[in-house]
C-alpha cells in the first residue's frame, strides 16, 4: 500500500493493568529521531483494555499523537484481535514506518500484519537509522547467532516495519508537562473472528521474574562459576551492589540457574551502567546481549578469553578470590557512609 503520511508509528504494548510495557516507551526515543528524519509525526499506538496509564506514559515519553483502541477483547493479546485492529489502523492512516517491540507477542503479531499488508519486515533489530542515500529506515540486526550484523532496507513497500529488541534503546526521562493529541478509535472484533482462545494462564514458579532489562548493575556468571553453589558468590556481590544476577547460556543450560537470568542472543539484551561478567568466556552469542553496557568488567582466569575484547576493566584471576574481595570493599564503604 501507499503511505498516506510521513508519520512514524510505535506500537506501545500494554500489560494486564493497562500500563505501558517498557519496550514501547524505549522505542519512542529512537522513534523521535527517525520521525524527524522522515519529516513526520511520532505517533504512539496503544491497544489494550483500560489503557489510560499507557496513554499518559506515551505522552510523557514523547509521542506527538496517540491512537487509542480500548476494549475488553484486547485485555490479553491474541493474534487475531491485534492483527485485525492494527491492520485497520494502518489502512486508515497509512504511516510510513512502524516499530514494534520484539517481545513474544510483538514477534507473533508483526509477521502476521506485514504479510497481510504485503510489505517488508525486519526482525529483532538492534540498530535503527535513516539510510542517507534513499531516506528509508536502515534496520540493523544480528544474524548467524550474532556472528554477523546485517543492515536491511525496505525501499518500495509501505509501511516499512521492524521489530526491535527490548533493552537496546533507553527510555527518555518522562516529561509530565508534555501534551499530545489523543485519537480514540472505536474498533471491536466480532467473537467469531477470534480463532484462538486463552483457556488458562499458567504462572510457573520456575519462571521467576528477573528484571534484567531495567537493571542499572548486572553481575553475571558463566561456566567458570562451576556449579549452582558458585552462584552464591555472584549473588553476594550482586546484593552488595544492589545489582541483578545474570548468567550466560552455558550456566543456564547446565541447570545452575533459571533461564530468566540468561543474557545473550537467546536470552535478554541488557544495557546497564555496569556489567560484571564473571567466569564468562564471551561467546559472540553472549556479547551481542550485553555490549551496549556503559562499563563492562570481565573477571576470568584465561587471559585470552574473548570477553576481554569488550571489557573496560579486565581482571585476570580467580573469580572466587576477586569477587569476594570486591564484595568486602563495597560493604565496607557502605558501612562507612
Amino acid at each position: 500500500m501507499e503511505a498516506k503520511t510521513k508519520d512514524l508509528w510505535v506500537l506501545v504494548e500494554t500489560d494486564q493493568n493497562g500500563g505501558a510495557k517498557n519496550v514501547g516507551l524505549e522505542l519512542l526515543n529512537p522513534g523521535r529521531r527517525l520521525a524527524e528524519g522522515q519529516q513526520g509525526k511520532l505517533v504512539a499506538v496503544v491497544i489494550g483494555s483500560r489503557v489510560d496509564e499507557a496513554v499518559k506514559a506515551a505522552q510523557a515519553h514523547g509521542a506527538d499523537q496517540i491512537i487509542v483502541v480500548d476494549g475488553p477483547e484486547f485485555a490479553r493479546y491474541t493474534t487475531d484481535a491485534y492483527t485485525d485492529t492494527l491492520y485497520a489502523l494502518v489502512e486508515k492512516y497509512g504511516p510510513t514506518t512502524l516499530l514494534i517491540g520484539a517481545t513474544g507477542n510483538g514477534r507473533d503479531l508483526a509477521p502476521r500484519l506485514s504479510c497481510r499488508l504485503k510489505t517488508g519486515l525486519t526482525a529483532d533489530c538492534t540498530g535503527l537509522d535513516i539510510d542517507e542515500q534513499s531516506g528509508n529506515v536502515a534496520w540493523t540486526r544480528p544474524a548467524f547467532g550474532g556472528n554477523l550484523m546485517a543492515t536491511i532496507l525496505c525501499p518500495d513497500h509501505r509501511p516499512q516495519i521492524g521489530t526491535v529488541r527490548p533493552g537496546v534503546f533507553k527510555k527518555k526521562e518522562p516529561d509530565g508537562s508534555r501534551s499530545a493529541e489523543v485519537i480514540r478509535e472505536e474498533i471491536h472484533i466480532p467473537e467469531e473472528r477470534l480463532r484462538t482462545r486463552v483457556l488458562d494462564v499458567i504462572s510457573e514458579l520456575s519462571k521467576e521474574l528477573v528484571d534484567l532489562e531495567g537493571a542499572e548493575i548486572i553481575v553475571s556468571g558463566g561456566r567458570g562459576v562451576g556449579g549452582p553453589e558458585g552462584f552464591r558468590t555472584i549473588r553476594e556481590l550482586a546484593d552488595a551492589l544492589g545489582a541483578t544476577v545474570g548468567a550466560s547460556r552455558a550456566a543456564v543450560d547446565s541447570g545452575w540457574i533459571s533461564r530468566s537470568h540468561q543474557v545473550g542472543q537467546s536470552g535478554k539484551t541488557v544495557g546497564p551502567k555496569l556489567y560484571i561478567a564473571a567466569g564468562i568466556s564471551g561467546a559472540i552469542q553472549h556479547l551481542v546481549g550485553m555490549n551496549s553496557s556503559d562499563v563492562v568488567v570481565a573477571v576470568n582466569k584465561d587471559p585470552d578469553a574473548p570477553i576481554f575484547g569488550v571489557a573496560d576493566y579486565g581482571v585476570v584471576g580467580d573469580l572466587f578470590q576477586v569477587l569476594p574481595a570486591l564484595t568486602e570493599s563495597v560493604k565496607k564503604r557502605k558501612g562507612l557512609s
Binding site: R107, S114, C115, N147, I202, Y313, V322, L326
Partner: protein
C-alpha cells in the same frame, strides 16, 4: 491425523567462527544440521502421531538438493513422507517470499497427501533468527496460529496448545487446521535407530519446482522480496580496556574496587 512439519537445513551457527584477518564468516567445514527448533517441531508431531493411531507425518523443506539430508533425518525419526521444494527462481527470497512459496507448496502437497490438520514449524531458524516464516505461512493460508508452543493435545477439532508467553504460559484453544511454531521443549527429540536410518536413506524424496506449483513468480526470489540486504558486517569490538592482574585474586579485587570508584561506576 494428517500432520505437516516444515524444516530448514541450516549451518550449525555454534560452529561458525570469524576469520580475524578478513573479518568475515568462515563457512567452510561448518556442519549442516536440521534447524534445532524444527527438530522440536518434528518431535512434537511425532508424539502426537504416537498418541493418535492412524496419524501420518509429511515433512517439507525448501532448499538445494543437499537439503534432502535434513529431510532424511526427519524420515528416520517419525516422518512418513518428504518433499523438497527447489528452484533457482526461489533463491534470494526474504521471509515474505519464502512463506508465500511454502504456502503454495503446502496447497500442492495437500492435493497429493490430503488436507493437513496441523502444520508445525520451528519457532525460528538459527541462521536468520527471524521467527517470521511460520506466522506468515499461517497468514497466506488464512489459518490461525500459535507461536512458541511447548505443549500440545488434541480434543475433537480443537488443538490445545501451551504457549510460552513473556512472563507466564498460556493455554490456548484453537480450531484446526492451524499453524503451530515450536520452541525448545522440556524434552529432547528422539534418536533414529539403525533400522529407521537405513529405511530413510532408501526413501525417495520428490522435488517440487515452480512448474509444479500454482504460483505468481513475481512474488518470489530477490525481485519478489520487499526487504533488501544493504550490507553485512561482523560486529565491531571494543579495544583498549584496562587490564588488572595482581599477585593474588584478592588484591585484584581491591584494585578493581578502586578503579570502579574512581570512574564512579559504583
Amino acid at each position: 491425523m494428517n500432520l505437516l512439519v516444515c524444516v530448514k537445513q541450516v549451518p550449525d551457527t555454534a560452529e561458525i567462527r570469524i576469520d580475524p584477518k578478513t573479518n568475515t564468516l568462515i563457512r567452510s567445514g561448518v556442519p549442516s544440521i536440521v534447524n534445532p527448533f524444527d527438530s522440536y517441531a518434528m518431535e512434537m508431531a511425532a508424539r502426537l502421531k504416537d498418541a493418535v493411531p492412524g496419524s501420518r507425518i509429511v515433512v517439507l523443506s525448501m532448499g538445494p538438493e543437499q537439503a534432502k539430508a535434513a529431510l532424511k533425518q526427519c524420515l528416520a525419526v517419525g516422518a512418513d513422507k518428504a518433499y523438497l521444494i527447489s528452484d533457482r527462481a526461489f533463491g534470494g527470497s526474504d521471509t515474505l517470499a519464502t512463506s508465500y512459496i511454502l504456502s503454495r507448496a503446502i496447497v500442492r502437497v495437500e492435493e497429493l497427501e490430503g488436507k493437513f490438520d496441523l502444520i508445525f514449524c520451528g519457532k525460528q531458524a538459527i541462521d536468520g533468527d527471524t521467527a517470521q516464516v511460520g506466522p506468515e505461512i499461517a497468514e497466506h493460508l488464512d489459518y490461525p496460529q500459535v507461536t512458541c508452543a511447548v505443549g500440545l493435545s488434541v480434543e475433537g477439532d480443537t488443538a490445545k496448545v501451551k504457549r510460552e508467553a513473556e512472563d507466564d504460559f498460556e493455554l490456548l484453544g484453537v480450531k484446526m487446521p492451524c499453524v503451530i511454531t515450536v520452541t525448545k521443549l522440556p524434552y529432547e527429540p528422539r534418536y533414529p535407530t539403525v533400522r529407521t536410518k537405513l529405511a530413510a536413506n532408501k526413501a525417495e524424496i520428490p522435488t517440487l519446482t515452480s512448474a509444479d506449483l500454482t504460483i505468481d513468480l513475481s512474488r518470489v526470489g530477490l525481485k519478489g522480496s520487499p526487504t533488501k540486504v544493504k550490507k553485512t558486517y561482523t560486529a565491531p569490538q571494543k579495544s583498549g580496556g584496562v587490564r588488572i592482574q595482581e599477585e593474588s585474586g584478592t588484591d585484584a579485587g581491591k584494585k578493581l574496587f578502586e578503579s570502579l570508584c574512581e570512574t564512579c561506576a559504583i
